[in-house]
């Protein structure tokens, strides 16, 4: 159904450069990023963890979970600025 995120970078030469290019264009301060809380919800371990890795590397505050109910409980307990979830 889906391709693990990490393999994407490897299989496509130049993707890493593109990512760097894009990150510099966005120019969001590191301190601002550290204050952004992101919740990643996906039942697929590889995808979930690769998303988290990429976003943590960017400096965001990332939490992961695998199920909708768990996400629901997390959202009730603390606020998140962004939720990335499977449809």
């Amino acid at each position: 159904m889906s391709m693990p995120l990490a393999q994407n970078g490897v299989s496509r030469p130049g993707a890493r450069d593109e990512a760097k290019d894009v990150a510099s264009l966005l120019a969001i301060g590191a301190d601002a990023k550290a204050r952004i809380r992101i919740l990643v919800v996906d039942d697929e371990h590889t995808l979930r963890e690769s998303c988290a890795t990429v976003l943590r590397h960017e400096g965001y505050d990332v939490t992961v979970c695998s199920r909708g109910q768990e996400a629901h409980d997390l959202l009730k307990r603390r606020g998140f600025d962004i939720v990335i979830s499977d449809l």
Binding site: M3, L5, G9, A23, I38, S50, E58, Y60, I82, D86
Partner: protein, 420 residues
């Protein structure tokens, strides 16, 4: 994220309030850009909220955009605009020329989290293809003759704010493809550039005065672009379908233009009842913009303190109702007249419009028209006679034997006398 990206499910996700969607598989940079744009939106929203709180503290906050109208169809459009404003969903506005599409777009922007950022409007029909492309996307130095320095486009100018794309269906297919990439990835590549020049976070509002679905079918509008922009469709009704708003708008424009064009303290003129009736009966093909221009004209020429007569309004092209005329839109409010006079006027007006619509609908076939109306053919002829209507010998369509008579004779027509 979705492993099974279909247009419907994606549009549905955006409609439900998702910021964006990410079809699997996606690259790390795609994820980074998307999150970056979301973060930027959050930052802009916070900044806007702080500014508005500051403004409210100074009591300077007021609605900058006035949308006048009480007609249910118009209120529905405004309510939808108000509901969608604080989200980031793309809006697609349809409506006739002059009906107020850009006003609705500005209203949405001013009530959004982006109101402290720019509202940028582009008319896709006004510029030739090459110019539209460099205006929108910007260009690199040397991209074409005359490109003497790097120039950011309007997409970059609208960063953090709203971009209004008027007459979207006039945009060429190659530019549509380029635009779709910006909407999906937020990445702008200027004309003549080999790299991504900017990542933009823009809310899109598109508009057209034609049928976008027909443009999609005809192949002039990309379907994927249309669905991406049509997360929330808003339809602005034409002015003739909301005649009850005409007096309100006319009075508003009159006082606005009187203050703008005339000497301070000059006594206001007043719209006579006859003038208001003439305004309500007019077809307004140019919609609110036409009304606005007509009233501005009056405000410039009329004597201070007088009553404005119908002939001062210089309304032209009166009377010919198109075959699609809606017979339901006749009652205009705010006229100070007696119950009987109002009833007679509205009935006479209704009969004229209904008959015109009916006979045109039946293609000039009077038997068919009588069947649709559920009356005798002779009754039909008598009604038409009473209102001075006849079928055109060549086309079979209803024409008027003489220009529409002035208002008083409308009431007289109801009294059962045939107009000469």
């Amino acid at each position: 994220m979705t492993g099974n990206p279909s247009v419907e499910s994606s549009v549905e996700a955006l409609r439900q309030g998702a910021f964006d969607y990410l079809p699997k598989p996606f690259s790390a940079s795609h994820l980074q850009v998307l999150i970056g744009r979301a973060v930027h939106t959050l930052a802009v929203a916070r900044e806007t909220r702080e500014q508005q709180e500051e403004l409210e503290r100074r009591h300077a906050h007021s609605d900058k955009i006035t949308l006048l109208g009480t007609a249910p169809s118009f209120r529905r459009a405004i309510e939808l605009a108000r509901k969608v404003a604080p989200t980031d969903a793309s809006v697609f506005i349809t409506g006739e020329s002059g009906s107020g599409k850009e006003m609705i777009a500005q209203f949405i922007h001013h009530h959004s989290r982006r109101s402290s950022r720019p509202f940028v409007a582009i008319n896709c029909a006004a510029l030739p293809e090459g110019l539209l492309e460099s205006e929108m996307f910007g260009h690199r130095k040397g991209a074409f003759t005359g490109a003497v320095r790097d120039k950011p486009g309007l997409l970059e100018a609208a960063h953090g704010g709203t971009l209004f794309l008027d007459e979207l269906v006039e945009m060429s297919k190659p530019i549509q493809a380029k635009l779709l990439r910006v909407i999906q990835d937020g990445v702008v590549r200027r004309v003549g550039s080999e790299t991504n020049d900017a990542v933009v976070n823009v809310r899109f509002i598109a508009a057209t005065n034609t049928d976008p679905e027909a443009a999609v079918k005809a192949g002039t509008l990309r379907e994927d672009l249309y669905y991406r922009l049509r997360v929330v469709p808003i339809q602005v009704p034409p002015l003739r379908d909301r005649p009850e708003d005409i007096p309100l708008l006319a009075e508003y424009f009159l006082s606005t233009y009187w203050i703008r064009h005339r000497n301070k303290g000059a006594p206001f003129p007043k719209l006579s009842d006859a003038a208001i009736r003439a305004l309500c009966a007019h077809n307004w093909r140019g919609n609110v913009r036409e009304l606005q221009n007509a009233i501005e004209h009056v405000a410039v020429i009329v004597e201070p303190g007088t009553e404005i007569r119908p002939e001062d309004l210089q309304l032209t092209g009166e009377g010919e109702s198109p075959a699609t005329a809606n017979p339901a839109s006749l009652i205009s409010t705010l006229l100070e007249e007696s119950y009987h006079a109002a009833r007679d006027r509205v009935i006479a007006q209704f009969e004229r419009q209904y008959l015109t619509w009916l006979v045109n609908r039946a293609g000039g076939n009077m038997s068919k028209a009588a069947r649709i109306a559920g009356v005798d053919r002779t009754t039909l002829y008598r009604l038409m006679e009473r209102h001075g209507l006849q079928r055109s010998p060549s086309t079979g369509w209803v024409i008027e034997r003489e220009p529409m008579a002035a208002e008083p004779s409308l009431a007289a027509g109801e009294a059962g006398e045939s107009t000469p």
